[in-house]
């Protein structure tokens, strides 16, 4: 029973490769069936997002498992094996568990702390669960991964602050206004940035939209999109009196909103706070307007500095998150270890029983005249001896298996008694699920 992950991500593969090796939802069930069809693979989950494609499997044998996963990917996507291997990374045992938990906690993401990945991992797992590609180990592994991801989100500030310009604008607005619901936003100009910011504001509760543009028709079309009102460019200062938030992004070479405009608006507003976001370069809003009482004005550089600070904060939160994740990996590993020990103990018992049966057969032949009662006594005697003899090793093996170096005891038991786990048909490998390879990835010898 070996947990292996093979994958490629934004860290190892360029987008040209990532876009060819994907498993969209509609083919996922089919792909999982094919993958679990390989003899070495018992359980599988395929995680496919725009930044990563990862295959988590539980395999009988680590090398065969890896080999089968590579074969599966290259066959499924008709790719040359050598070309594919260049971009793939592998983790196994504890490192594979750690990898999944880090991915679910968005510690491995392009933007650390982003919120989508946990949901994507859940979707991937659910698809595998429905396709009946998962069993005991994967079910437990992924559920544990979700709780690790959740713990990281609630116990650290990893995803708390905005790391994009448009979110930073919303975050700042919420520092001024407790709630954005019922507020009015005014959009001056047009463009992708202004629309993105407006969308974020609307999803945070802003209810009224006023749009203005030098070309009135463009203002009208944008207003229709947000269910707002279009106003003529000549009237925008009068309309600004009703706006709590103003976003400006015009192509004008000079200030569109002057200090005088803002002074006028503030007087009309009776000093009710107003919040300006200037995303235009060259700037649209006279920066000296920011000095006016109860005016909060930000340009693109202000927002960028907020984003930079927040990114640093996320990095700090990430170190705490790593500790949480490691703790969770340990807790999962100890569960897995008890699972590991069960087949070994079963094998040990079976082996002892086989020896007893063989020896009984051999020696009873020499004692043909035993009565029924005497036979029973001999049976009971031999059983008692093996049970008493195995009692302590089994109890200790169960106990020690949950320790950090537990696999050593299980391995020793296997080596000393020359036994194999129940399900395995091949020769026992020197490796257990927990032989962790320190290298990040390595080449498969073919």
């Amino acid at each position: 029973m070996h947990i292996i992950v093979a994958g490629l991500s934004h860290k190892t593969a360029p987008v040209e490769v990532r876009e060819t090796v994907t498993f969209p939802e509609q083919i996922l069930s089919d792909a999982l069936h094919m993958l679990t069809g390989y003899p070495s693979i018992n359980e599988a989950v395929i995680l496919s997002t725009c930044n990563r494609m990862e295959i988590y499997v539980v395999a009988n044998d680590p090398d065969k498992g890896k080999d089968d996963v590579i074969r599966f990917i290259s066959d499924y996507h008709s790719l040359e094996r050598d070309k594919l291997e260049k971009y793939l990374y592998f983790r196994e045992g504890k490192n594979a568990i750690l990898h999944l938990f880090r991915v679910a906690s968005s510690l491995d993401s392009m933007v650390i702390g982003e919120a989508q990945i946990l949901g994507q991992v859940k979707t991937a797992y659910n698809a595998a669960f429905e396709a009946e590609a998962t069993s005991t180990v994967m079910n437990r592994l992924f559920r544990h991964g979700f709780s690790a991801g959740k713990r990281v989100r609630t116990e650290t500030e990893i995803g708390e602050s905005a790391v994009s310009i448009s979110y930073a604008a919303v975050e700042l607005a919420k520092k001024v206004f407790e709630s954005l619901s019922g507020r009015t936003v005014m959009l001056i100009g047009a463009g992708e940035m202004i629309e993105l910011t407006a969308t974020h504001l609307l999803s945070n509760g802003v209810s009224n939209v006023i749009v203005t543009n030098r070309t009135y028709e463009r203002a009208e079309s944008l207003a229709r999109k947000y269910n707002g009102v279009a106003v003529r460019f000549n009237d925008f200062v009068d309309q600004m009196v009703h706006a709590d938030i103003v976003i400006s992004s015009t192509g004008a070479p000079h200030y569109v909103v002057t200090k005088d405009h803002v002074s006028f608006v503030m007087q009309k507003r009776k000093n009710k706070p107003i919040f300006f976001i200037d995303i235009a370069v060259p700037r649209d809003i006279d920066p000296s307007a920011a000095k006016i009482y109860n005016v909060f004005a930000y340009d693109i550089d202000d927002l960028d500095s907020v984003v930079q600070t927040n990114l640093e904060e996320r990095k700090k939160a990430a170190t705490i998150a790593e500790e949480i994740v490691e703790h969770e990996v340990l807790s999962f590993s100890s569960w897995l270890a008890t699972l590991e020990v069960a087949p070994t103990i079963a094998s040990l018992r079976r082996m002892a029983e086989e020896i007893r049966q063989k020896e009984l057969e051999k020696h009873l032949r020499k004692l043909p005249n035993l009565s029924e009662a005497e036979l029973n006594t001999v049976n009971a005697l031999t059983s008692a001896i093996i049970n008493k003899l195995l009692h302590q090793p089994i109890v200790k093996a169960k106990e020690y298996s949950t320790r950090k170096d537990g696999y050593l005891y299980i391995e020793s038991l296997k080596v000393l008694f020359n036994i194999e786990d129940e399900e395995e048909d091949e020769e026992p490998e020197g490796a257990s699920a927990f032989v962790s390879k320190p290298e990040a990835s390595f080449k498969i010898n073919r």
Binding site: E155, K175, V176, F177, F296
Partner: protein, 294 residues
């Protein structure tokens, strides 16, 4: 009975310390632990309830007309300030989770008041004949309520000023931890306004009840020359002006909150007259009785 009072008093103090530490810890920490949030709030509630019991026992022991002694007054002050905070929390917790930052100021202030009550006076408080009156009891209770809400208003005004300074200098000054823990400007401003309105109402009653009591006693007929009373009227004028300019001229935000801080400075000066020895010597006041009735 006295023994029980003492036990309850110390329990309230310990609970106040626990709550203070939890609030401060939460404020200083990067991420809030839910356990700490509940501990802080639970201990604050506990402290409040215990203080109310102490006040009740004191009123039982001394009689209602004599509860205005220096020990009990400080306990009432501590209880009220926690009470005002808990009231705000119960109303605003749903709107903003950051209002609890107020606990980092309120709870330690309550602890200090309890400590001062014990350290300076203990249970051996005595009242002169002139102070044994229901009028004085009401006067002092109103005064304590007014001071409690003023303290809350001050904390909010300072929070506003700090937060606004950060928001206005976003690029030059990197936002610190405090920035994320303080409530939004809108909430600070609004709550400060409400606390001052509350405080002003009680301040009006303090002055009214004080004057009525003074008028009853011939030896206090010169009350209008008393420095503490004059300062109290000055405080009333400052807070009154805050409310007026806010309503009439739309002074809000920085200006209003600076005004609130100024108001508190005048209020503190008023409080100290009759409370601090050397000030009382320079400015003799009829409020010197019992060494600090607030």
């Amino acid at each position: 009975m006295e023994k029980l009072t003492i036990i309850l008093f110390w329990l309230a103090l310990v609970s106040g310390v626990v709550s203070s530490l939890a609030y401060i810890g939460n404020f200083a920490a990067r991420a809030e632990r839910r356990v700490h949030v509940y501990t802080a709030l639970g201990a604050a509630l506990g402290s409040f309830a215990l203080l109310l019991l102490v006040i009740f026992l004191r009123a039982q022991a001394l009689g209602i007309s004599q509860t205005a002694g220096p020990f009990t007054v400080r306990i009432i002050f501590a209880a009220f300030i926690i009470g005002v905070f808990l009231l705000i929390e119960s109303i605003y917790a749903g709107k903003s989770t950051k209002v609890k930052a107020l606990g980092t100021v309120v709870m330690p202030v309550a602890v200090i008041l309890q400590f001062l009550a014990w350290h300076a006076y203990g249970l051996s408080e005595q009242l002169t004949q002139q102070l044994r009156s229901y009028w004085v009891g009401m006067h002092v209770t109103f005064a304590v309520l007014a001071y409690a809400s003023m303290t809350v208003a001050l904390a909010l005004a300072v929070a506003y000023i700090l937060q606004e300074k950060q928001l206005k200098n976003m690029r030059t000054k990197k936002p610190g931890k405090i920035f994320r823990k303080l409530p939004s400007l809108e909430i600070s401003d609004d709550l400060c306004h409400k606390s001052i309105a509350f405080s002003f109402t009680f301040l009006t009653l303090v002055i009214a009840t004080g004057i009525m009591r003074a008028e009853m006693l011939p030896e206090w007929s010169m009350w209008y020359m008393d420095p503490k009373i004059l300062m109290a009227i000055a405080t009333w004028v400052v807070y009154g002006s805050y409310l007026v300019v806010r309503a009439a001229l739309g002074w809000r935000g920085k200006r209003a909150n600076t005004f609130a801080i100024l108001g508190f400075a005048v209020a503190i000066a008023t409080y100290l007259i009759g409370n601090i020895g050397f000030i009382t010597e320079i400015l003799p006041s009829i409020h010197r009785y019992g060494g600090g009735l607030g």
